[in-house]
């Protein structure tokens, strides 16, 4: 069942943001909802021709998970890292 | 042997029960075959209610599930008498409750006329008029033995009504043929 998924993963000291590349439909809701503007559209084209977001400003991430909760396609999730 | 029995009355008079009792008694206890159909007016309580029972020695004698030419007819209420008179035969044995059904309509038939409902009332309740008539019918026709009907009553009638029903059946059976 669990087949390999290609991710864009970036982390700061507390949080890691993972984007499942091939699930993204480029709706932009995650980029819009992020209160600290971590995300930005990447230049990658996924298998369906969509450009997934890239957590370019990962250092700003506060772990609110609004991107994860607002993604209609189960394509982005946030993890706690460190201790 | 094949007897076609037509029972007509009002909803609530136990017409359908009479059909079922005859059918059960004949088929389960008297070693006969029986088919019974029922119809009733769905619109009204107290509307016309009809049971059509065919009793025969063998299933093969029954070629139609409904009564076409009654050998025995019971009228507990004068519904559509003119219609029913047309399907009776001169030799049809007709039982009427003469307190509610006009005797003169049946002057050309083999008529058994009794105040069945008041007889029933005198032994306990008008509600068992049907069993008084059935008892009388058994006496007159010898259709089956009274014990067969008693067995059927025991099987179907609730405990608290059983004694009265059997009493009514026996009362009817004691009437002159």
């Amino acid at each position: 069942m669990a087949h390999a998924l290609s991710l864009i993963s970036k982390e700061n000291k507390k949080y890691r943001v993972n984007v499942i590349i091939d699930r993204c439909k480029e709706c932009g809701l995650c980029i819009n909802i992020c209160p600290v503007k971590v995300l930005s559209k990447s230049g990658i084209l996924n298998k369906n021709g969509y450009r997934p977001p890239d957590p370019v400003n990962i250092e700003k991430c506060i772990g609110c998970r609004l991107c994860e909760y607002s993604c209609p396609d189960f394509a982005i999730f946030v993890e706690g890292v460190g201790k | 042997m094949k007897k076609e029995i037509l029972v007509v009355g009002r909803g609530g008079q136990g017409v359908l029960l009479m059909g079922r009792i005859i059918g059960l008694a004949a088929s389960k206890y008297a070693n006969l075959y029986a088919v019974s159909t029922e119809s009733y007016a769905s619109e009204t309580r107290g509307g016309e209610s009809r049971a059509e029972v065919i009793v025969a020695s063998d299933i093969g004698e029954i070629d139609y599930l409904k009564v076409q030419k009654p050998d025995i007819a019971v009228f507990m209420y004068p519904f559509r008498l003119d219609y029913y008179l047309k399907i009776l035969r001169p030799e049809t044995l007709v039982f009427i409750d003469n307190l509610v059904v006009p005797e003169e309509k049946f002057s050309n038939y083999n008529l058994k006329s009794q105040p069945y409902s008041s007889i029933a009332e005198s032994i306990g309740s008008q509600r068992v008029t049907n069993m008084v008539i059935l008892g009388h019918m058994l006496k007159v026709t010898g259709l089956m033995e009274i014990k067969h009907v008693q067995e059927a009553l025991k099987e179907i009638v609730p405990e608290k009504w059983l004694e009265l029903n059997i009493k009514a059946l026996e009362k009817g059976y004691s009437l002159p043929p």
Binding site: A2, S6, C27, L29 | -
Partner: protein, 276 residues
């Protein structure tokens, strides 16, 4: 840019080989499903619901198809008939947790009569209705919730029919729980769904959703982000709103919250209790 193998925290609830969904980019349905699954996860984690006992039932329509993305016992049945199917499932095995998902057309339009009677019976199932104001899967026709005046493909001169206030209708019956949330408030969807899973009787949650591709086109909000932001602006949270506030009004606002919370005996209780 690290490439690693990891799964989304909700993947255990999904038939992942069917993801991506067939939904258009920016469709709110996936947000709603995600929130529901988080609510369900909490119930599973606390041990009050076994995953094997959960059955999802959907009728026909975009929202109803949520039932076939979930990795549970599920049924994708006829248009409008998810509720009676679910009633049969529940009565056959009252131990099951039965969840109906569907759009407003499926649940309150073609299936409206079943909705009324499910609520009247207080039958022990959960119905989550996604309202997106339009028949999306069939190409943008008028729905029972389409606001007055909106031009759809079957009301090209403007919708002449006032919309149905489903929350008010269901509340007027015997439902034990009636709540409304929006895909712009996924935490409330999660919270209400979690709560509903712990209740008996008929539980109804309306989720106001976005359909940028089809409804958005009708009202000039085709961009998912723009439509999301417009809906978000209009959503007003009240903990216990009154039924007078239930009518959805795009201009005056859409009040979300818990409209009805009761703990009356459910249909199963009556069935088990006989005629007492």
């Amino acid at each position: 840019m690290a490439l690693t193998i990891k799964t989304h925290p909700l993947d255990r609830h999904l038939r992942t080989d069917r993801i991506p969904t067939l939904y258009c980019p920016g469709c709110g349905l996936g947000i709603g499903l995600g929130a529901m699954l988080r609510g369900l996860q909490k119930r599973i984690d606390e041990g009050s619901i076994s995953p094997d006992s959960v059955v999802w039932v959907g009728g026909i329509g975009c929202s109803a198809r949520l039932s076939f993305y979930v990795n549970y016992d599920s049924a994708h049945v006829l248009h409008g008939r998810a509720i009676p199917f679910a009633v049969g499932v529940k009565l056959a095995n009252p131990e099951l947790t039965v969840i109906v998902v569907g759009g407003d057309g499926d649940i309150a339009g073609i299936g409206g009569n079943h909705l009324l009677h499910a609520a009247r019976r207080n039958i022990d199932i959960i119905t989550v209705m996604f309202t997106n104001f339009v028949y999306a899967m069939t190409g943008g026709q008028v729905a029972p919730t389409t606001p007055l005046g909106v031009r759809t493909t079957t009301t090209p001169h403007g919708n002449p029919e006032p919309p149905l206030d489903v929350v008010k209708v269901v509340s007027s019956l015997n439902a034990n729980y009636v709540a409304r949330a929006s895909i712009t408030t996924p935490h409330y969807i999660e919270q209400y769904f979690y709560k509903a899973l712990g209740m008996r009787g008929f539980r109804f949650i309306e989720v106001v959703s976005t359909c940028p591709e089809v409804y958005g086109r009708h009202i000039g909000l085709r961009d998912p982000v723009e439509m999301y932001n417009e809906l978000k602006k209009r959503v007003i949270y009240k903990p216990r709103p009154t039924l007078e506030e239930a009518a959805i009004n795009w201009e005056k606002g859409i009040v979300i919250g818990e409209y009805i919370v009761r703990d009356n005996p459910g249909f199963i209780d009556f069935l088990r209790g006989g005629n007492k």
